[in-house]
């Protein structure tokens, strides 16, 4: 049960609204895809969802509690995820250290997450030595290791080859059986493969908010059509 | 923070048990090696270890004024008397003396080896515009040099006059490099290794005598002053044992310091006449 609500939310940069005013109520279970052109506000929306910062106006809440005060319930994977200057193992273990999870439990959960990401053999390698696809899988394992209620991902497969993208997507499908997943992506085929629900942003506003089935099987007009047909 | 301090103090906790004192002295006594020879004898008879901080006379007086030394062994009588008069020191003692000498290039362009007095030698140097290296550091040697200029009625403000603001050895190194004249104490000169083209050109005369005095810091001014130790050192330095140790100190067979209490000088085996008293007869 992950009920997300945006209530009259606006975010400004240099006096200009880059998001909002926005009202959204969303049951964030399964995979929700955020679509829209660059600068439409997907990243800002994701940051607000995680509670990286509070909106300039309005409230962002999960099940009625402000997002900024419940960050620990969720994980955030950035577009270029930080590769800590440590071993793969230490990278994945780090969120558990931050949450002061006791060592025996930590070992067990890191091992599980590494197995899930198929990185057990690379556990003792410096994370910097991983390939691009492996790095993203490690970052996803690091996001997953805390057993968050919701995982937020910003373009996680932006620079990956098809094989690596496929590996990442199958991990996301697994995760979505237990947690909510919200993912911003440019890749329409990917959204089609993943999404249970779709939000489309244009110019900082919500242009569509509907189940993926109906979104991909109906014809659109206006800005959504412009976006889907590559005019914006 | 406490741990840090504890660590800091652990860093050098050793050797704090022995009785000891700090003596602020001049580079001339230290560099010549005198103190390295006589202080172990003092330690052997009293068990007191003396830590020597060798600086210029001016800095030694300043260190003592701040209470950072227990006694001083310096060579500028007027400053020592002032130190006592100002209430910092007590019981000034005459310990020893040697003499100043004028060093210069072997060719002696100013012709000072023929001079009749130090004042005349200085006059020759300045009138020939020869280079002269001055310590310029308020040391005993520097103060004496200024007195010689003043007593000769001269001002050392000419082009070749270089105030280097350094210790005796550094100044000698400079004089050696520049081929300049310089006033030096005989002890440092004798033990100085980098002479190059320099030679001893003038010696003798009352104004060249260089007496060393021992003054201990008034324990009434600072509670921490090692008064008993400082008193013991003064007593030993003026004792027959201490005086004999000073008179017995030789570098390459040459006596460097004359013990004040052991006149006349011929009794100090002063064969080469380096004892200032011998130079007096010039």
């Amino acid at each position: 049960m992950n009920r997300l609500s945006f209530d009259k939310v606006s975010v400004y940069r240099n006096g200009k609204a880059i998001l909002g005013p926005l009202d959204v109520a969303l049951q964030a279970d399964g995979i929700t895809c955020l679509l829209g052109p660059n600068g439409a506000g997907k990243s800002v929306f994701l940051n607000l969802c995680h509670g990286m910062y509070a909106p300039d106006k309005g409230t962002v809440e999960w099940n009625g509690v402000a997002a900024v005060s419940t960050r620990m319930d969720r994980s955030f994977m950035f577009q270029s995820a930080a590769v800590m200057r440590r071993s793969v193992w230490a990278n994945v273990a780090f969120p558990l250290v931050a949450q002061k999870v006791p060592r025996p439990e930590r070992l067990e959960r890191v091992l599980e997450a590494l197995a899930f990401a198929r990185l057990v053999d690379q556990a003792s390698q410096p994370a910097a030595s991983l390939s691009g696809g492996e790095k993203q899988r490690m970052a996803l394992a690091r996001a997953w290791v805390t057993r968050p209620k919701v995982i937020l991902l910003d373009e996680p497969a932006a620079n990956l080859d098809p094989g690596s993208t496929h590996a990442l997507e199958s991990m996301l499908h697994d995760i979505a059986t237990k947690s909510g997943v919200i993912i911003a992506t440019h890749n329409l085929p990917q959204a089609r493969r993943l999404a249970r629900h779709v939000l489309v942003f244009t110019n900082g506003k919500l242009a569509a908010n509907m189940a993926a089935d109906s979104f991909f099987n109906q014809s659109h007009t206006g800005q959504v059509a412009d976006y889907l047909e590559g005019r914006i | 923070m406490k741990i840090l301090l504890a660590l800091l103090f652990m860093a050098s906790a050793a050797g704090a048990q022995q009785r000891s004192m700090v003596l602020a002295s001049t580079t001339s006594t230290q560099n010549s090696g005198l103190l390295d020879v006589i202080l172990p004898q003092f330690e052997a008879s009293t068990g007191i270890h003396v830590f020597v901080v060798a600086v210029g006379t001016g800095q030694a007086l300043r260190i003592a004024q701040n209470g950072d030394a227990d006694a001083i062994l310096v060579h500028h009588r007027a400053s020592e008397d002032q130190f006592v008069a100002d209430g910092f020191g007590i019981d000034r003692l005459d310990i020893m003396f040697n003499d100043f000498v004028i060093i210069g290039p072997k060719s002696d362009p100013a012709g000072i080896s023929e001079a009749l007095s130090a004042g005349q030698a200085f006059a020759n140097i300045s009138s020939s515009q020869s280079r002269f290296v001055s310590r310029g550091d308020n040391s005993g040697t520097h103060l004496r040099e200024l007195e010689i200029w003043r007593e000769a009625g001269l001002s050392p403000e000419y082009d070749g006059y270089l105030e280097v603001g350094s210790g005796m050895g550094t100044a000698l190194n400079l004089a050696s490099g520049l081929g300049a004249y310089i006033l030096a104490d005989r002890g440092t000169w004798l033990s100085f290794q980098n002479r190059g083209d320099l030679a001893l050109l003038f010696e003798g005369g009352a104004e060249m005598i260089n007496p060393y005095g021992y003054v201990r810091v008034d324990p009434a001014r600072f509670a921490h002053i090692k008064s008993a130790e400082a008193e013991a050192l003064g007593l030993w330095l003026t004792s027959s044992a201490g005086q004999a140790a000073i008179a017995g100190f030789r570098i390459m067979g040459v006596q460097l310091f004359c013990a004040s209490g052991l006149a006349p000088p011929d009794q100090q085996n002063d064969q080469q006449g380096t004892c200032a008293a011998g130079a007096l007869q010039r």
Binding site: M52, A128 | L8, V55, G67, S176
Partner: protein
């Protein structure tokens, strides 16, 4: 040639006096680096991580303090530790402790500035992750310092180099007392002033050899760390 052979004999002969001087040099500068690291590294990291009023001023101040002449540091610490000074009751003037204090003060700004430089790129990379994990300030500090550790080693080397090579500060607060506070640099200065130029130079060569060994040691350790740093194309 004379100097080199003299240095060679000093090194292989390594008599008790020289050994004491060399080990005091290493001990004083080593402790100074250690304390400056303990005090300075968190300050440097904090300057890289958090913005607060006066931060820019502090950065400029610490950068300028790097240029502080050792003599000035020595004099300040002398006035502090003098019996007539505010910390005179400690009674540590003219002891190795005073020398450690002076060198710690001397290299503290170096450690601060270089640690800040080392931490900056690491924090830039980690910032989002750390915020998203709700990391406590202490964890942030610990994490970036640890992951910038190979850059901090450079700061350490620079600090040690400056400490072990300086003569002005230790001369004033240590007094160059034979057998107590005499280190390599003050011995070199002393022998130079005695005109023993060959011996002084030989000691200088010994100092360089020691510095070389230290640097090679620490450098090879830090090479291992390079593997952990991401090469971004």
């Amino acid at each position: 040639m004379d100097t080199l052979s003299a240095a060679w004999f000093l090194l292989i002969g390594m008599d008790a006096d020289l050994l004491a001087i060399v080990s005091l040099s290493l001990k004083v500068s080593g402790f100074a680096v250690l304390y400056a690291l303990i005090l300075g590294a968190p300050v440097g990291a904090a300057l890289a991580i958090w913005s607060f009023p006066g931060r820019q001023v502090l950065i400029v101040v610490f950068n300028s303090l790097m240029a502080l002449p050792p003599v000035v540091v020595g004099l300040s610490v002398y006035l502090l530790l003098s019996r007539s000074g505010p910390l005179g009751d400690l009674g540590i003037l003219f002891t190795p402790k005073a020398m450690i204090v002076a060198q710690t003060v001397l290299i503290f700004p170096i450690i601060v500035a270089l640690t800040r430089e080392a931490v900056k790129p690491v924090f830039r990379e980690y910032r989002g992750l750390l915020v998203s994990l709700n990391a406590s300030p202490f964890l942030v500090l610990r994490t970036v310092l640890w992951d910038a550790r190979f850059g901090v080693v450079t700061a350490l080397l620079a600090g040690f180099g400056r400490a072990v090579a300086e003569v002005g500060a230790v001369l004033i607060v240590g007094g160059n007392i034979n057998g107590l506070t005499r280190v390599m640099t003050t011995t070199i200065a002393l022998e130079t002033s005695k005109g023993n130029l060959e011996l002084a130079m030989a000691l200088g060569v010994v100092l360089i050899v020691l510095a070389l060994v230290m640097n090679a040691l620490i450098y090879s350790i830090s090479r291992i760390g390079l593997r952990f740093q991401e090469v971004r194309e």
